[in-house]
Amino acid sequence: MSDRLLELFSTGLGIPAEDLSDETSPSNTSAWDSLAAMEMVTIIEDAFGVRLKTAEIMKMRSIGLARTVLRSKGVEDI
């Protein structure tokens, strides 16, 4: 099963997609620092054609939460 969001985080964090899950977060992943978070915003916005508000960015404290935010914005193919 290909998971688009895991692939994007894999690119942004430089970690193989199979080592990522919805539980992956800054607290259990050292590569997810503030610069990586900034990079992920650009990657996600470009990939899904959305504009994230600051509050939405702040909510994305794990890959699962990022998925929830994108669903709430009507993004289907995550």
């Binding site: 503030s34 900034m38 990079e39 915003v41 650009t42 916005e45 470009d46 508000k53 600051t54 960015i57």
Partner: protein, 560 residues
Amino acid sequence: MTVERFRIGVTASFTPTPLYRSLLSTFVSGEEAEVLEADFNLVHQTLLDPEGSLGSAPDALLVLWRVEDIFTQSLVDWVVDAADPVGLIEDVRQLGGLIRQAAAGSKAPVVVTTPPVPVFAWLDPLDTRTSVRLSVLHGRLVEAFLDGLDDAPVTLVDLDALVRSHGVQQAYDTRNDLMYRQPFSSAFTKAFGQLLGEALNSLTTAVPKVLAVDADNTLWGGIVGEDGAEGVIVGDSFPGNAFRALQNGLAYQVANGTLLVMVSKNNDTDVAELFAVRHGDLVLTEKHFATKRVDWNSKADNLVGIAEELNLGADSFIFVDDNDVELEEVRQRLPGVRVIKVTDEPDEIAELTSKLSAFRFAKVSSEDRQRTSMMQVEVGRKAAAAEAQSHEDFLASLGLTVRVFRPQSAHVGRVTQLVNKTNQFNLTTIRRDEAEVSALIASEDHRVYAAEVSDRFGGYGLVAVAIVAAGAQTWEVDTFLMSCRVLRRGVENAVVQCIADDAVEAGATQLAGDYRPTAKNSQVATFYPELGFTETGEGHFEAKLPLDLAPAHVTIERDA
């Protein structure tokens, strides 16, 4: 094997990290490079001690800054309270001086931005109470900065020009600025990184020295040998204004030290006449050209000759032409030459010289770079000489097909057009109207031939016509002409071969033809002798049949 990594030191007044992806993918040594980033917004400290601030000595140093990041309060006071800007201007001059010192104290080349017009999230950029003052202040700040740099050998990247080319609305992103101190949009960030990568590339790449340009359908619209000096399209009004724009762009490059050379398949007298009678419409004069090759030789051969004459390598050349075959021959035979195609879209023609990005960083040539490029030139010249393919090899790669056929009524229009329009490759220049051409096609004692030509780049259509009086013993070529677009590719040999074959089949023993000189057709003066014909009278040539002229690289097709 250890690979020495190229260390790019970065100090910036904003978060530079998002620039690295496009910067490293543009930079030719990007894969072997690592970035050493100084702490955020410590530009002054980094310049005073680059090695200490970056952790080790960089191989190149990028200094990226904006006025509103480093001198925030002075600028806000000036905007809000109209405070005296003298102190701010002096601070910016000192920053320039600091960069000059850092550049002088290190072997590493320095790439530095000139600042964009300041923006604030809270300030309407169209508020004229401030916007006009801000334009003036920005000019003074840039001037002071350059004054501080004092011609230090740094590479300038004009960040303001980049913002202008994107537009303020597209360039900035307030959310990113507030959250990450990263003031730019992601699209702008990508372009900014690319431009920095290009700036790094310019440190090791020689700037092109020669612009070699075609003439017909490049400097002007149309073909001077066919349309005449008065007929070609160039001037103040559409669409001639597109060619004038292109000529302005070339004149600008000449004024900035680039050598302009003309490489054109033409009679040089036609081109000279055009420059004489159309000087009011042209921007360029003959004086703009360092040298010219206006003849019927292969352009690749001519470029090799010019390179030898100027003692420059192929990698110093940019070749500009509208013709795919000319471009491809140069591409194949002189791989170092950069080639640029002129399209037939007026807007693209007008903008062509604005896309010569190889000249972007040309003005900041340091002594070092000149030495490097002189060495590259010498190496490149030898390599080009060793690699240059022959014209024959190139022809063989073209996959040329010539279809020779007897025209029908549907072809009368095009055949008549060629008969009346072709000046240069035309042995007798006998003009005829459609009725006369139709009569000859129907005639028992004449044969009219037409040829269509194609190669791997596509078809050229009906480009050659021959009219032959078919006598019992001797076939007399009355008319033989061809469009300049297919010159020097053996098409003429293929057509004569077909005529000779038909003559043999009809029982004739001899083929004959005339050359009648005109002001335009000197290039075919030796046409018959080169095919092995003997001159038996003034301009009259004969050959015994059969003939064996068909070139190996041409596929001949005959109608069933």
